[in-house]
Symmetry: none
Subunit: 208 residues, 4 copies
């Protein structure tokens, strides 16, 4: 039993370390320079053992992707739980996508590489779509309580597009807006949209 735990523990550690090493290797050498040999070297292991813990490079890559997606989703969730009103929930989704220490050039480039790879990697495509669906749903639910359904849908889409666009631009250079700037920009858009949006039907929001 103890033995089992030790075994699992080592495997867990190694897999985590390898995912981390793969990610760092990617940041340093790009997607193309992210070879199994280099990953192993960075993790201080032989390249043989990398294939022992991950049956293939694709599997390792998928693990890296999953970790990335979840870490972003987790941040958003954390903020959603702390949100007290629909409008705050919208802000939670927006801010959740731009933690200052994550919204960096390197990480943005990593994300773009993932996207580019989605074609060859059905699983990652699925992950992305799932994450996108969650985001759209969160935004739409919150906005529905602030304006009409159709308007909510349009605004939610605009926000989602802007979030993606901001990340794409982040990968371009360091001269673009920082996290706060982006958040401010999108929030301003939301506020403007609210001004234009029709007042909610009186009865409909008795619930909120």
């Amino acid at each position: 039993m103890a033995n089992r735990i030790v075994r699992t523990s080592i495997e867990t550690i190694r897999r985590r370390d390898l995912v981390e090493a793969a990610y760092l290797t990617f940041l340093e050498h790009g997607m193309q320079g992210m070879t199994m040999a280099r990953i192993g070297e960075r993790a201080g292991m032989s390249h043989g053992i990398v294939n022992y813990y991950f049956r293939s490079k694709d599997e390792l890559l998928a693990a890296v992707m999953r970790k990335s997606v979840f870490s972003v989703m987790a941040e958003t969730l954390r903020r959603l739980r702390a949100a007290a009103s629909p409008r705050e929930r919208v802000s939670a989704v927006i801010a959740g996508h731009f933690p200052a220490d994550i919204f960096t050039l390197d990480i943005a480039r990593a994300w773009l590489s993932y996207y580019a790879l989605a074609g060859q990697h059905p699983e990652f495509g699925r992950l992305q779509r799932a994450a996108d669906g969650r985001r759209a749903s969160n935004l739409h639910h919150a906005l529905k309580q602030l304006t009409g359904n159709a308007e909510a849908r349009v605004i939610a889409l605009s926000i989602a597009i802007m979030i993606d666009g901001a990340w794409l631009r982040r990968a371009r250079s360091n001269d673009t807006m920082d996290a706060d700037g982006v958040i401010g920009h999108i929030e301003a858009y939301v506020d403007d949209s609210m001004k234009l949006a029709p007042p909610l039907p009186a009865a409909g929001n008795g619930r909120c």
Copy 2:
């Protein structure tokens, strides 16, 4: 002397053909599948000659990057010339980024793989920033004639972000909006913004 000219001429033609072939290869197979052999094949030349005209793959790659960026800018420029009013100029920039036959899943993914590579290719970063600057400038100049300077800047940025975001989302799956949908969405945003924007100072648009 004549000989010299002929040689140079052939060289120019070959280089242009090879860049074109490389670009098409890139659009079809993505950055990873853009091999020297495939480029030569597509250009109807031996792959040996590719290395004759471009000392290395990186050199060819740089040429392809230049061409890619310019070809997108050219489409926008074409539409800008046909635009009759500031508002139409805004629309020209928007529509210029979404030709229906170009705004496809594969091409979007190819572009992302480009972006992902920019980190290792300083020149490409420069190119992208230049193109982005042009776009921002075009949008800003047009919008300035429709609203206040500060508002114009904000709206121009929103449009630019949405253009980038739409392309990123296009790479995600085929279930997203098509070119017309995206254009409609952004145009609607522009129209809404105009409603909120302050009326122009009386004299400002006498020029137009």
Copy 3:
């Protein structure tokens, strides 16, 4: 001393289990797919222990070869013991080589991969020749009691060749004869041969 016995006993059991597992792995995956890891897995042991009990894969392979040959011989022997007449002994040898559940495409192919390896494994060649000698001898002894010595030798050889040929053909496709068909064919040949064979010298079979 008792300890010694226990140790030896476990070792014996483990080695037998491993040979059995290797044999089954071989039948299922062929010579090429018979890896140490798969053998260990099939035996329900770690693959590390396989190398503990067999210094190398070749040593295990030799053991498997021995087992394989013996297991085929055993089936024939079982039937031989039940045979009541010389003619039945001939049938025993024939049928002993074609158990319906063994005479399959996969197993036939596995055996061929064995044979193909014999060139590099002197011991396996020896084993095969020994088994072949036993078979020839069994057939010859039985047939000698039914016909002349020279004829017996010829018929025994034909039977042996047909047995081998039937296995080789079995590996070709599933469209060939099944076990019963092959047995029937060879038996018919034996019956025909008996018709042509000279009657036994009167005294010759008094011995039987």
Copy 4:
């Protein structure tokens, strides 16, 4: 034009040399030791060029197999053309499978390896079945002119099985019969069969 011929010529030469080298490598190191590197080395080429002429190892292997199958079929055909009577045609098929310089231990082992590989190599399975079909057809047609249809079928099958069996046994050791011995043995079987076979219906052989 001349250029084209030169090119093709080199390619033809290289491919032929590589097939030959692959075959020799196999004879020396067995199927498992027949690596691309060793093949290239034996052919005096880099291993890179091997993959240049044969897109994959399987393709090279298939070429080796095809060459082997065709060389056996060609020998049989050559003899069939020289045969003057049905009985001689039967002999042609038999002798055609056992040229003295081909019926050797090494070559027999090579054949077994091919058979063992047929499972993973659909094309080779097809080749084998095609060759077998031709053989069966040739034998049956000739025998039908010597005896009844049903008998012809049985005898043809026996001959085919014996041919295969003789090759399998040849791979076992050098102590088995040589080519002449095998041919004699099978011919004797055919002669015996003719004795037992029913005389042909009177009219049936008016044709021959």
